[in-house]
């Protein structure tokens, strides 16, 4: 975690440090490139995406390299966040009230820590699928080095890679929707880094309370 103060002098709350924002976009930008070029090879109806992105040969060439960048991003996220992403017993109650969350009945939802259980699912979904995408991606990258006797690895990789990609796409659609359209005030947290006190209190009450306590102690 960063040493930057969380309660900013301007009356707002620092949600993500510069380092956290940087890592988020390292993973985010590389993921979008992987998604677009991956989709181009997934369906002939989307092959035009590769044409626009500099040609299919270049897309094929760069996709695995961006994959490595993405894996670096996810690894850094893991080192920054994995403790805060740990599942806690309180998460069960949150999931039990997911219907209220979906219907925006926010007063019916248990209060969340720095990351709510949905965000934890997103994180671990990307983490585990990222590992499988890396392993299968390495095989897809250099199939000529996987001998005929080990062909089952290639056969597994061509299936596992798109399955895991699809799993991340499901998470990605929800993540982007919530981060831009649904949760007003959230997008700024990964750009400028801050949110309003009301936002922090509303969406991450437990976390916010802790911040207030910490800053009171420091005084």
């Amino acid at each position: 975690m960063s040493s930057e103060p969380y309660l900013l002098p301007n009356g707002r709350v620092l949600r993500y440090s510069f380092r956290e924002r940087l890592v988020h976009w390292l993973a985010g930008v590389s993921y979008v490139y992987l998604l677009l070029t991956g989709l181009a090879f997934w369906s002939p109806w989307l092959f035009w995406i590769a044409v626009i992105l500099g040609g299919p040969t270049i897309s094929r060439e760069l996709h695995p390299w961006f994959g490595l960048v993405f894996v670096v991003g996810v690894s850094l996220m893991y080192s920054m966040w994995h403790r805060q992403m740990k599942e806690t017993p309180a998460d069960k109650a949150w999931w039990a009230s997911i219907g209220h969350y979906i219907r925006n009945e926010d007063d019916q939802i248990p209060s969340a820590d720095r990351f709510n259980p949905g965000q934890k699912l997103l994180f671990w979904g990307f983490f585990w699928n990222g590992i499988l995408l890396l392993l299968s991606g390495l095989i897809l990258w250099l199939p000529q080095h996987i001998s005929w006797n080990l062909r089952f690895l290639r056969l597994a990789a061509v299936f596992v890679h798109p399955v895991c990609a699809l799993a991340t796409i499901a998470l990605f659609i929800i993540h982007v929707y919530m981060g831009t359209a649904m949760e007003r005030g959230a997008f700024g947290s990964v750009i400028r880094g801050d949110v309003s006190r009301a936002w922090a209190n509303h969406h991450h009450h437990t976390w916010y309370e802790q911040l207030l306590r910490n800053s009171a102690e420091r005084k």
Binding site: A40, F41, W42, S43, P44, F47, A50, P56, T57, S59, R60, E61, I102, R103, N104, D106, D107, Q108, I109, P110, S111, A112, L140, P143, Q144, W148, R151, R154, L155, A156, A157, V158, F159, P162, V163, L166, I169, A170, I173, I174, Y177, A181, M182, E183, R184, G185, S196, R197, A198, W199, N201, H202, H203, H205, Y208
Partner: protein, 297 residues
């Protein structure tokens, strides 16, 4: 075959029948390899290199007569040698000309993501169009015969073309022309099939090979290269010819059901979040909500 381009089916202002119409019985071509009369001279290997303009590659010696362990991006035609000890203790040197089988249901083509990198002609030839190849190597995974090979510098995949450039102008493939024993034949699929069956019958009745038969695997819809084998029950003996080749299951699942499930899922997801927005709208936090938390503790 090439006659499709020269056969007339209609003639304007012409009295009477169209000359030559319906003369062609079949356009499907086929190469027949009779392994029982192959002497392993490798003339076909040389002819293939010469016609396709490749130089000789380094050979790999592995205590057999075989030139290298498997075909290469610039070595499309390879005689596979196997010293086979039979049940009665006698030896047989099995030799099979390995190359693309030109499957009717080609796994390479099913797996390829690039527009027009692999095409299948009406005469049955499966041909790679290297200009469109992106070098992903999916074809190498889709092929049940280990045929497409990757060339790292050009990042393209190459394989036997069945001499498409020769066949399309009415010539037989280069390997056929070079074979000194007549163990290679070229013609229409039905002719070759008939010739192969006749030869297999001959082997069964006259030469004591009870299991002689024709290799034209149904799992890939039949092939446009077929073999006569002394022992059709054990094709693996012939340099690892697969017994019942098919497009691999994972490739079929990937290019079949997974494609539909995935496409449906992506569209469902994108439409789903949009409908959610229309129905429930955003989560807006009122700034005067300040210190009073909305949720239960």
């Amino acid at each position: 075959m090439s006659q499709a381009a020269t056969e007339l089916i209609r003639i304007s202002g012409h009295a009477g029948v169209v000359p030559g119409k319906g003369l062609n019985r079949e356009f499907q071509v086929c190469k027949l390899v009779d392994t029982t009369t192959c002497i392993g001279c490798k003339a076909c290997e040389v002819a293939c290199l010469e016609w396709n303009g490749y130089t000789f590659s380094e050979t790999t010696f592995d205590n057999t007569y075989q030139t290298m362990p498997e075909t290469a991006w610039n070595y499309w035609n390879l005689i596979k040698f196997n010293e086979h000890e039979r049940a009665d203790g006698t030896m047989m040197l099995l030799m099979r000309k390995d190359q693309c089988m030109h499957c009717a249901d080609p796994g390479c083509l099913a797996a390829c993501p690039a527009d027009a990198a692999i095409v299948q002609y009406a005469n049955g030839i499966v041909d790679f169009q290297e200009a469109n190849c992106i070098g992903c190597g999916y074809c190498m995974t889709g092929c049940p015969f280990n045929i497409p090979k990757f060339d790292p510098p050009s990042r393209k995949v190459f394989k036997c073309t069945l001499c498409n450039d020769r066949v399309s102008v009415g010539l037989e493939p280069a390997c056929i022309k070079a074979c000194p024993t007549g163990c290679l034949h070229f013609g229409t699929k039905s002719e070759m099939k008939e010739l192969a069956e006749t030869r297999a019958e001959q082997l069964r009745t006259n030469s004591g090979f009870q299991d002689a038969g024709v290799y034209d695997p149904a799992g890939v819809g039949g092939t446009h290269v077929i073999y006569v084998l002394h022992d059709a029950k054990n094709p693996e003996l012939y340099g690892g010819l697969p017994k019942d080749p098919t497009i691999p299951l994972s490739v079929r699942l990937w290019k079949g059901p997974l494609k539909w499930i995935g496409n449906f899922g992506i569209i469902f997801g994108a439409v789903g979040v949009f409908i959610h927005y229309l129905r429930f709208g955003p989560k807006v936090v009122k700034e005067d909500e300040q210190e009073s938390h909305g949720g239960t503790q």
